[in-house]
């Protein structure tokens, strides 16, 4: 796996890089530390300091890495570098303390997640451990793939995984109402409903990865329920699939991932393709 660690010289970015390394340490084939210099005076000095600091942490681990600096808008430079270097994972932090980068969480990070061709780890807050992972799945093949990715990450970190599915459906008429709409995960699996079958497949995927996992169903607005579960469950990482829509459907379908990024204060791994 090729990992692109991005920094703007801030301590948040350094913390994000550390978290990224913890997440994928055993699977790293190639590592690049990218410093992006935007147009403020001491940016170059900060970036150099950050690259040196990260280097000092990477050397004892024995990981091969190279460093690079680029000048310009953070999102564009990171996206371009990820394409040029053919990265499998971009790791970015809460780079929002100065200048343009203070919008990183609301603007640049969302932009990177939306336009990246690979997975993105967006590290928010301070997490020193990786023991509990929440994976949000919408169903179908892409949802199972996200669970598999979470399973691999959890296996490396020896973490527990909770698979969350949110049902926001309501009956269109009183005659089309079904108790399934309010049922918990175990009931759905016992009844072999569409959602239940998906959750059972997710549990099997985790079992195959040698990870202990649990499934959970919440009822309500999708983004809100994910945010509440992430907040109340004391998780260390949230895994969610990237918005897969393309062409016309990109404009028709809501980008749940972008909304979750705005709402949660957890590190978020946005999965795109195989990781």
């Amino acid at each position: 796996m090729k990992i692109l660690l991005c920094t703007d010289g801030s301590t948040d970015a350094t913390r994000a890089a550390r978290f990224g390394l913890r997440l994928a340490r055993r699977g790293v084939d190639s590592l690049q530390v990218l410093g992006v210099i935007e147009d403020h005076e001491d940016a170059a000095r900060l970036i150099q300091n950050a690259l040196q600091a990260l280097g000092a942490e990477l050397d004892p681990i024995g990981l091969e890495y190279n460093t690079k600096t680029r000048h310009g808008h953070a999102a564009e430079q990171i996206l371009d570098e990820a394409v040029d270097w053919q990265a499998d994972l971009i790791v970015i932090g809460q780079l929002g303390r100065r200048g343009l980068t203070r919008f990183i969480m609301g603007g640049t990070a969302t932009r990177i997640v939306q336009y990246a061709r690979c997975s993105v780890l967006l590290v928010k807050g301070q997490r020193s451990a990786l023991q509990k992972i929440l994976v949000c799945t919408a169903g179908g093949e892409p949802g199972l793939r996200d669970v598999e990715v979470a399973g691999r990450v959890a296996a490396q970190a020896q973490a527990n995984v909770t698979v969350l599915h949110v049902m926001s459906q309501v009956a269109l008429t009183e005659k089309t109402y079904r108790p399934d709409l309010e049922a918990p995960a175990n009931d759905l699996m016992a009844r072999h409903t569409r959602e239940g079958q998906h959750l059972a497949a997710a549990l099997n995927a985790l079992k195959s990865a040698g990870v202990s996992g649990a499934v959970k169903v919440r009822h309500g607005l999708v983004v809100d329920e994910i945010a509440v579960e992430a907040r109340d469950g004391d998780y260390d990482l949230l895994v969610i699939g990237a918005h897969l829509a393309h062409g016309l459907s990109r404009w028709l379908l809501d980008d749940v991932t972008a909304h979750v990024l705005e709402e949660t204060q957890l590190p978020v791994l946005v999965v795109r393709g195989e990781l």
Binding site: Q169, T173, D254
Partner: protein, 360 residues
């Protein structure tokens, strides 16, 4: 080998229904207009509708009585043209008609629940529909009142052309004169209301039947659409169906399991709440009174402006509040029953209480 599709046939029955519906619709408007003229002194003497709040209550109750908002909105225009209601009262009565009709979906669901069929959660769609309507219409009423009082849109006057008006008079005046000959003012108006119910029945029969199934749309109904997309879909479907409740029921065959995402409901209803006025707008053109058109236009514009402001600035917050309100109401059976009683009581209070404070 695929069979060639049979050529589409012109459905003459539906065309007949549409034409008959239009003719009956215009006749009903003429009858209500004529009846209202004779009704005006009676209403004035009895002090039935003297304030905009009473008009709101009247429209609201009227929608309960005929189980639909459109006939009541058309009746409001008839009363306006007969001199019974002022511009503002007419505007409020039209508002009331829509607020009342938004309760009907919920009421049908409530009866279903009382008969012990399903959980109170099955009422969600009716509650969401009603709350969305109310929370947009109440601020829209304030905005519309300002627009009407300021005369900001009074220059926008449209009505049927003089030629069309003469043609309509030539066709319908003999029938209206004959009916008013044997029916006094109030009765003429009541006949007009009955005839407009018939007109909407005929128009419903003329609407295209959607024989779509969930399989044709795959997983589309279960996807999460952008709010603006559902808003436009709701507007478009209701522009044809002319009824919010019909638009909601049209979603049933599209959804494989009869479900819809909560996130998709609210913007859909918001869009539907605007184009549901199209039939009233058409009715205003046939009233041959440009001020009628202005009232309906103000109504549509106010609801559109409020809906767009919500969509652009506070949509996520609004969505959460609406869902919370719906959940709280259905939290207990007793609470929900009290809410239903309140919904019947409020329009009666609006209609009657202002009378106590009016000095004649």
């Amino acid at each position: 080998m695929t069979r060639p599709r049979p050529p589409r046939r012109i459905n003459f029955l539906k065309i007949t229904y549409a034409l008959a519906g239009l003719v009956v619709f215009i006749l009903a408007l003429q009858l209500m207009k004529a009846g209202a003229r004779q009704l005006a002194p009676v209403v004035e003497n009895l002090a039935l509708v003297q304030t905009p709040v009473q008009a709101l209550g009247l429209g609201w109750l009227g929608a309960y009585l005929v189980l639909s908002g459109s006939p009541v909105a058309a009746a409001a225009l008839g009363l306006f043209n007969g001199g019974v209601l002022t511009e503002l009262q007419t505007f409020m009565m039209i508002n009331g008609s829509r607020m009342g009709s938004s309760f009907i979906i919920l009421f049908v669901g409530f009866l279903y629940m009382v008969r012990g069929h399903e959980s109170k959660r099955s009422l969600s769609i009716g509650l969401l529909s009603m709350w969305t309507t109310w929370t947009t219409y109440v601020p829209a009423m304030l905005l519309g009142t300002y627009l009407l009082n300021s005369g900001a849109l009074s220059s926008l006057h449209f009505s049927a052309s003089a030629e069309l008006a003469s043609f309509v008079d030539a066709i319908f005046n003999p029938i209206v004169t004959w009916i008013t000959g044997w029916a006094p003012g109030l009765l003429t108006f009541v006949v007009g209301v009955l005839v407009i119910l018939l007109a909407f029945n005929l128009i419903d029969r003329a609407l295209p039947e959607l024989k779509l199934t969930g399989s044709e749309f795959g997983e589309a109904p279960s996807l999460l659409f952008r709010p603006i997309v559902m808003f436009l879909i709701g507007s478009a479907i209701t522009a044809v169906s002319m009824s919010v409740s019909v638009s909601v029921s049209l979603l049933v065959p599209l959804s494989a399991r009869g479900y819809i995402r909560r996130e998709n409901v609210i913007p859909y209803i918001m869009g539907a709440n605007i184009t549901t006025f199209i039939d009233t707008l058409v009715a205003s053109l046939f009233m041959n009174n440009p001020a009628s058109f202005t009232i309906v236009l103000v109504e549509m514009l106010s609801v559109t402006i409020i809906s767009m402001l919500i969509m652009i600035f506070i949509y996520r917050f609004y969505e959460r509040r609406i869902l919370n309100a719906a959940n709280r109401i259905t939290a207990t059976r007793r609470g929900f029953s009290l809410f239903m009683i309140l919904m019947v009581g409020v329009p009666i209070v609006l209609l009657l209480v202002p009378r106590l404070f009016i000095t004649r």
